[in-house]
Symmetry: C2
Subunit: 413 residues, 2 copies
């Protein structure tokens, strides 16, 4: 057959996504499949069974990452691989992560049933604990695999109930013996939902991120003076929450003030003593800044520090900052990004060049070799919520782009 | 002797305040004497002993209110009485409440040692659970005594550990047999720290509140849309915390916008899901408005509703209000307010007419008969905190004003 006529089976992809969505299904139509939970174990067992059905060689490494390998004609060449994660947010959706795993499974099934022999070996992967919502941080097992995080440190992470990552991994039977250690690869692809509203709003099917935005996290602490609200006149108050309110609005407006290409968010706030009739004497809040332009993001923070000092001074509230975390933006391999655009066009799908605002396992792969991602539209841009949704047609289209990119890369010698 | 020469013993008043400050003393220099706790019991036992030393007739009523009675020449006439509360906030100060009890005790001791016979009987009172910080609401036992709250409902109140008010009252041995039921009185006085910065800032010794401000409590609920912050552009977000920030600033500015005489505060806020990288989809915050002018306070709320709707509309976040509690302002008896000013002047103390921003047991007394309060300066305006402080001289001055007002009222026939 002409390989260019090859297509995934959309119905089968849908069925495999629906089957997975039953594991940890929530009443609100979403999924709760926290990493290393019983639900994660059931989903992993199902996944491993599906890999064995199509004669993939299954390996579980010491971080619980699951690989399924399909030999190449030239089996010693570095492979092409693809995957994502089976775990979900608490009350998460039915597509985040699992689409990239079931999409890659559908590619493997399509290669299998059509007896497609690629030059290079092809692998599918499920990365353990991408979400980081049970055990922080996120993307921990791809990080260990990539040599960027320490295995024993990862093992020692605890959840809210004091349960330990390493023990939970063993409990569910997925502490494998293979070293969690990167091997050379030729290309890594990850199919994922966009998790934002852009593709839907412009009516495009395939999103092609040129890379992942930089990510800067800050923590701000404001000190006020607690007093009974009734007897304390407005003049001379040191209300930490009023100071925080001005700062939150400064964060909201900073992307426009810096000329655009950036998002800035206050997601978390704690107020003390948080009592209806006491003037707040302490506020902590977080700032999350993301941009393709690292310098622009840093300039925004410099601007915010000026804004914050002004608001602090006006309210007579001392302020303290912590520069908690900074990750630079990461461009994906231009060659793969170009190939994605070419394959989308050849398949007749509209596509859009964009950026990824969220981190993914692909971030770590991108540090080691050529990596790229394929996005499909998120309905209403919603993600990390039970109503997260995408159309079956878009899932199928994304898997077809993945299929043809993997074949192309796997036949490069 | 000429009664106008009579003065309290400032050293003795200081000693009794210092003695009480040891019971529940905190490392930070404050006091934690929660109502019906072991500390409250020890302080009550000490107090009752002091009443018996000067031959007062002690009565404990079924709410645990402690009365000490000194007969009048015309003992059937409605008495004059004064007091406040022994209980404190968690990590509260050494003056809030206890000054009014020890001040009245010092008045009784002065009358006793000088063999002053008043026409009317004179009483001292300790009201149970003024603070309401262990068992809500505040001022519960004076409220029951005044017939405004139900005794059995008060008994059924529980603290955070599930302990029950009625059982705790019995446990510490202060569930008395006298009915908690108001009897006619001629005048009620309450000496208290100001709990605000006004007297200190204008350099006056005695504050004479014309009454207690109205108190309006509201609850505001904002609904946003949760999304991953990275992939969601600023345009089109529905960020409930940004909407709340605008509303908090509207509350801060509303007193000035309404022309002054008012305080408005957001003391409490909850943000959901309160995660660093998720756009907030729900905020609840409280609004506390106080003014001498009930209509002005209601107009301020009407203005705030317009401001809130505007901020909600701008951020695309539906909003919901609850009008939780409204208490009208309460003017004290003009006759007593005038007498206070006259006695302060006669004693050579500077004084200032003002209002009380906080509620007190005097609020309930004021519903039944003539009541008034005497304020002394709070250093730095601080209260409900361990650093709460007042000078011993000001305590003595306040007690002298209380002494002469009580004598004058108690000799009216």
């Amino acid at each position: 057959m002409d390989l260019s006529d090859l297509r995934v089976n959309g119905e089968r992809l849908r069925a495999s996504l629906e089957e997975m969505a039953k594991i940890g299904a929530t009443p609100g139509g979403g999924v709760q499949r926290l990493t290393l939970s019983d639900e994660d174990k059931r989903a992993r067992d199902l996944f491993v069974g599906r890999l064995e059905e199509i004669d993939l060689e299954v390996t579980v490494d010491e971080m619980g990452n699951i690989f399924g390998r399909r030999p190449g004609k030239n089996d010693e060449l570095p492979p092409v691989f693809s995957g994502s994660h089976i775990d979900s947010q608490p009350k998460g959706g039915r597509f985040d992560g699992i689409l990239g795993v079931m999409g890659a499974l559908e590619v493997m099934r399509t290669l299998h049933e059509n007896n497609v022999q690629t030059e290079r070996p092809v692998l599918i992967v499920d990365w353990t604990n991408e979400e980081g919502s049970r055990f922080a941080p996120a993307m921990v097992a791809s990080g260990v695999w990539a040599g960027k995080l320490d295995r024993d440190w990862a093992y020692s992470r605890t959840d809210r109930d004091g349960k330990v990552f390493g023990e939970e991994l063993e409990r569910i039977g997925y502490k494998g013996s293979a070293p969690a250690k990167a091997w050379p690869f030729h290309a890594y692809y990850e199919l994922h939902i966009e998790q934002g509203p852009v593709l839907e709003s412009i009516g495009k099917t395939i999103g092609i991120p040129k890379g992942i935005l930089c990510l800067h996290w800050y923590d701000v602490y404001i000190e006020g003076k607690a007093n009974q609200v009734g007897p304390t006149p407005m003049e001379g108050r040191n209300d930490a929450l009023c100071a925080a309110a001005e700062m939150i609005l400064a964060v909201q407006s900073v992307p426009a003030r810096m000329g655009g290409n950036m998002v800035a968010t206050v997601g978390e706030i704690q107020n003390y003593p948080n009592s209806r009739n006491i003037i707040p004497d302490g506020v902590h809040f977080t700032v999350d800044i993301r941009s393709w332009d690292d310098h622009l993001a840093i300039n925004a923070w410099e601007q915010l520090k000026i804004d914050f000092q002004a608001a602090a001074g006006k309210n007579g509230c001392p302020i303290r900052f912590e520069e908690t975390w900074r990750v630079e933006h990461t461009p994906f391999a231009e060659k793969l990004v170009g190939l994605l655009a070419q394959k989308a066009e050849a398949l007749g799908y509209s596509s859009h060049h964009m950026v990824s605002g969220a981190g993914h396992d692909a971030s770590y792969m991108n540090m080691l070799g050529d990596a790229a991602m394929i996005f499909i539209p998120s309905i209403g841009g919603r993600s990390h919520v039970e109503v997260e949704n995408s159309t079956w047609e878009d899932c199928e289209s994304g898997a077809n782009v993945l299929l043809h990119c993997m074949i192309e890369s796997a036949n490069e010698v």
